[in-house]
């Protein structure tokens, strides 16, 4: 027999246990990517079994194959255009009626399909029995029982798939859904008409094409135009005429009546294959929801769970973050030690390791956050969270599910933006991504602490709180603005399933978490690397700076003058002298470093853009600090430390004193904090935005918009404050 790779696609409703079956089939041999051109996740896995190489493709979970959501279009296009050898439809056996809707649409397509009746054990415990041979006979499709989370029936499923793949394609007559007479005759008429217009190269099933045209399926119409050119005009106008006739006759859109017919057909099937035992059915999910979405308890529990995620991600995550930070320190020290002094060494240690190191430390946060989110999704709580929050989020024009990414934004924008993947509508996703950076992330807090601590001493807490509130306010305002101006149009329907609660499987949680983190490491790596090198080049060149003073000579003379004093032999005395000497040398080195930074390219850029920052009360040193903050917001503090020639940025006292002496006022400090809150997100966030919107345009828009808003707001605050006499 010919040895080739079989392609098996998994289709199914969301929450049908499809992912579990996919994970159990492929284990860790999965590739995660995106479907071409869209940000819908594509998962594939190669396996070798029963002497065959198989590629398992996990199609997006959908309820239907209508062209209304990206997921559904992706799934349908794959089956139509890529012709997988077999399509396995994973059906939640405990919810047969709804799941058979998609199953029937798959049956109507011209493909080899198998039904996997998954979670058969749950169905049994719920008190109904499914007659699989009868179902198979009625629908003309092989049916296999599986219990995905116990790994039962998967071998049989694959064997059946192999058999089917190797048998000729026969579509038994009984596979057709019978529509009502009016519709059937219209289908027949259109079918005959199409047959006359196309030749054998037309690859779609003709009955199916006729059905789709009567349903006014825009994508299929476009496809037909592409496929057969001018001839399509006749077909489309014929279909339009028939549609018009049907609508009049049925007093409703044909697609609505056809959906009714499909459900009618399903109801008939169900009656024949399901026998319900008399045992009383207990709906466990309903009982859980009595508590979790309770009028009084719902919100407190939700807030508690969100708090728990936050704590896990950022408090628990702080420990491994610290270890990674230490690790990065060791790596840096190692290269510092082994490499000879050279430009390359500076590039590696100060550029690459420092830059990439400052991002990689977020990995624990991301791992933990995605573990929690996977837990929310796999248990079924995510849908309840959306149910609770939707009213509030809808005020900003967002979906209930947007709440979690936005809240995570207070921790770090990168995982927050990645978390928007749980949103189904692309518009909601982009809107959430655009406003999430206004939620003040934890990296900005050190900047506020230094500035507010210095200039608002006793009221620092209140000022920082107001800054946070201001960020939220801006998110709401811009959210509403974008919704009405940029991303207008009808909201995506909220109508969604509240899936039954399930005990999550560790394997699924871990795979989910690891997929996301891999994406973070791989995709962020490139952008961060380049960005870090650029910032490093700008801040460490040119090398031949003309210093205003000979700092090295000063250091030498200090060394000399202390050399004679230290050999007294008394240890106490010597140590004190050495300390004095070191302090002096440090002071000179800091002054030197400050001048070097001033004369480096980035310092020159800072001076060049100073006129831009002057109206908002920020001097050139502040400008440079803000520019370097592009890499990561924390860096703003350390750059200020260097430029204001403070002793050690970690000792905030020194920086505070330097800031107070620098001519900064409380008003300009406030202006700077607002700027830091709102301006261009950090490099890692930019990377995440590009990746998740899949568009450079939206990324550039975000950069320009946020920075524009930041400048305007700072301007208003600073100039307004001055007018008021502050």
């Amino acid at each position: 027999m010919e040895k080739r790779q079989l392609r098996i696609a998994l289709a199914g409703n969301p929450n049908s246990g499809k992912t579990t079956i996919f994970n159990n089939m492929t284990g860790t041999r999965q590739k995660v990517g995106n479907w071409p051109g869209v940000t819908v996740e594509k998962k594939e896995g190669d396996i070798h079994k029963f002497g065959y190489d198989m590629k398992i493709i996990d199609l997006p979970g959908t309820y239907s194959l209508t062209p209304f959501s990206i997921e559904e279009i992706v799934a349908r296009d794959f089956i139509l255009d890529e012709n997988p050898d077999v399509v396995i439809d994973i059906i939640d056996a405990s919810n047969l009626e709804r799941n058979l809707y998609l199953a029937n649409q798959l049956r109507e397509l011209d493909c080899k399909v198998i039904f996997a009746l998954n979670m058969a054990d749950v169905a049994k415990s719920r008190g109904f029995k499914i007659d699989a041979p009868k179902l198979s006979e009625l629908l003309g499709v092989p049916v296999v029982f599986t219990v995905g989370n116990k790994n039962e029936g998967l071998d049989e499923l694959l064997k059946t798939a192999l058999e089917l793949a190797n048998s000729p394609l026969e579509i038994p007559e009984e596979r057709r859904v019978r529509y009502s007479n009016d519709i059937e005759s219209a289908i027949g008429e259109l079918k005959d008409f199409i047959k006359l217009q196309v030749d054998s190269s037309f690859s779609y099933n003709i009955r199916w094409t006729a059905i789709k045209l009567l349903e006014d399926d825009k994508i299929i119409k476009d496809r037909i135009r592409e496929k057969i050119g001018v001839q399509s005009q006749h077909i489309l106008s014929k279909a339009e005429k028939l549609r018009g006739k049907l609508s009049k006759r049925l007093d409703d859109d044909p697609e609505i009546v056809m959906t009714d017919d499909r459900y009618g057909f399903i109801a008939g099937t169900i009656k024949e294959v399901i026998s319900t035992s008399t045992r009383h059915r207990v709906d466990i999910s309903r009982n859980i929801d009595l508590v979790l979405t309770n009028r009084f308890l719902g919100f407190p529990i939700f807030i508690f769970l969100i708090w728990a995620i936050f704590q896990t991600t950022f408090t628990l995550g702080a420990y491994p973050m610290e270890w990674l930070n230490t690790g990065v320190g060791y790596v840096s020290a190692f290269f510092e030690y082994v490499l000879p002094n050279s430009l390359l060494k500076d590039l590696i240690v100060d550029g690459i390791i420092a830059g990439v190191g400052s991002i990689i430390i977020f990995l624990p946060n991301i791992l933990l956050l995605f573990f929690c989110i996977a837990l929310f999704e796999d248990t079924g709580y995510m849908a309840r969270a959306a149910f609770l929050m939707d009213k509030i989020m809808h005020l900003i024009g967002l979906h209930g599910k947007s709440f979690i990414p936005m809240l995570m934004g207070f921790g770090c924008s990168v995982p927050a933006i990645m978390a928007t993947r749980s949103l189904e509508s692309k518009k909601d996703r982009i809107l959430t991504i655009l406003i999430t950076p206004f939620m003040s992330c934890s990296a900005r807090l050190p900047v506020y602490i230094v500035l507010a601590g210095t200039f608002f001493a006793a009221h620092a807490g209140t000022v920082i709180f107001i800054i946070y509130l201001f960020g939220i306010l801006m998110a709401i305002i811009t959210g509403r603005l974008f919704r009405t101006v940029l991303l207008k149009g009808e909201d995506a329907p909220f109508v969604m399933e509240l899936p039954p609660y399930r005990v999550p499987m560790m394997k699924n949680l871990l795979i989910h978490m690891w997929d996301r983190s891999k994406m973070f490491l791989r995709k962020m790596g490139g952008i961060i690397l380049v960005g870090s090198v650029v910032i490093w080049v700008l801040s460490s060149f040119p090398k031949n700076i003309q210093y205003s003073k000979d700092y090295d000579a000063q250091i030498r003379s200090v060394n000399q003058s202390y050399e004679q004093q230290t050999i007294s032999g008394k240890e106490d005395y010597d140590n004190r002298i050495i300390q004095q000497k070191d302090a002096l040398i440090r002071e000179i080195s800091i002054a030197k470093e400050a001048e070097r930074a001033e004369k480096s390219y980035i310092g020159r850029i800072g001076k060049a853009v100073e006129p831009l920052f002057e109206p908002i009360g920020i001097d050139w040193r502040g400008s440079v600090a803000l520019l370097t903050g592009f890499v990561a917001k924390e860096i703003v503090v350390s750059t200020m430390g260097v430029l204001y020639a403070a002793d050690d940025a970690a000792e905030s006292d020194a920086l505070q004193n330097a800031l107070l002496k620098s001519g900064m006022t409380p008003l300009s400090a406030l202006s700077m904090m607002i700027f830091v809150l709102l301006y261009i997100p950090c490099l890692a966030t930019i990377g995440a935005i590009t990746r998740e919107t899949g568009s450079v345009k939206w990324t550039l828009f975000n950069i320009v918009f946020t920075t524009g808003v930041a400048w305007t707001m700072s301007f208003v605050v600073f100039q307004g404050g001055r007018l008021l006499g502050f």
Partner: protein
């Protein structure tokens, strides 16, 4: 009456589904079809959205969306 006028714990049968085509299709696909029986599970704590049970599954929809669904109330027993 309309679905959003129903109270928690009430039962009804769907008569007609209106609204723009995308919403209508979505509602139908979730199993809320003409003639199907529907049970009002609860309203969210902020009164919007609401949760219904239809064909054995729990579905949530916004009040505005529920207003597109005509329904006849059924009395138990």
């Amino acid at each position: 009456m309309r679905l959003n006028e129903m109270k928690e714990g009430q039962r009804g049968r769907i008569l007609k589904i209106g609204g723009e085509s995308r919403l209508r299709r979505r509602i139908l696909e979730m199993g809320l079809t003409k003639g199907s029986e529907i049970y009002i599970e609860k309203y969210a704590p902020l009164k919007d959205p609401l949760e219904v049970t239809v064909r054995g599954c729990h579905v949530s929809l916004r009040v505005k969306e529920a207003a597109e669904i005509d329904i006849e109330a059924l009395t138990d027993y």
